[in-house]
Amino acid sequence: MSLDGNVLAGALADIFSFEITAAQVTCAGCGTQAPAASWVVFAEAPGMVARCRTCERVQLRLVSDGRGRTWVDLSGVARLEVGETR
């Protein structure tokens, strides 16, 4: 069963200085703009995959080896917007 981007908050807070789930992300595939919390997430450690809710294209992939290394691929995100939404 899939979850949503909320479940990535902890793992990504270890890497990014901003709160990812509230960030507006634009899918590089279909152009949909939505909060990262809306991602469809397959959260099986050690690899997490987040997909666009509209087109299923991979937005983010994260692998953590549990020994201090983390790899993040955000190539599915065309743009990230951080800050208060108006």
Binding site: M1, S2, L3, D4, G5, N6, V7, A9, G10, A11, A13, D14, I15, F16, S17, E19, I20, T21, A22, P35, A36, A37, S38, V41, A43, E44, A45, G66, G68, T70, T85
Partner: protein, 250 residues
Amino acid sequence: MARAAVLGRLTWRVVTVGAVVQESERAVTLTLESEERITHRPGQHVDVRLTAEDGYQAERSYSIASAPDDPSVSLTVERIPDGEVSPWLTTVAEPGDQFEVRGPVGGYFVWDDSDPAPVLLVAGGSGVVPLMSMIRHRRRRDLHTRMRLLYSARGEPDLLYRTELDELAGDGFDAVYTLTREAPPEWEGYRRRIDAPMLAEVRPAERGKGTVFVCGPTPFVEATANSLVLLGHEPARVKTERFGPSGGGS
């Protein structure tokens, strides 16, 4: 090749179980004590990590049930049959036991108490936990924002925080319940899965206005969010958090 570890903004910190309260047959509230006070916003969660003696580790996310102003953070956890972490938290954990948490985290599924818009909280099963943090926060700060909880559970014994919710009713807050599998004869609430007509009857604000928080198992959240959007709610004002095995809540 030596390489400096990336220092994370968040680290795992050790917490000690303070009190354990059985909320229902399957759900337990654990109050956590820690060296540094854990401060959170209503709706946030923590990641919990358990380590076995042989080094085996498992991590899951759990929502914070307590209000931010409460002296300690508490988590309400429902035991998932054949779960990895919830069985330990709900059947083994005792005051004095220790594990690690990371967080609190979550900048999306949080209630901004400065927003005067009416709030509808829709809970499926243990999805009520982060919403309870919002309800408790509203009471602690003596806020008057219109807030209503629509809470779906299988049967009456599965409803968590029932007494407290009854006591909190009034002054702009109330709770509406629906049971989906069995209801006692004298039951006055709804008796079916949440659907669009029920949401239309229950929402506290005019069509489309106000914020909605939906939390529960993935299929529940998807069906409810779809109904809300069909009823005219602006998608950006319908906030969702999905619980499920692995990752969130097992």
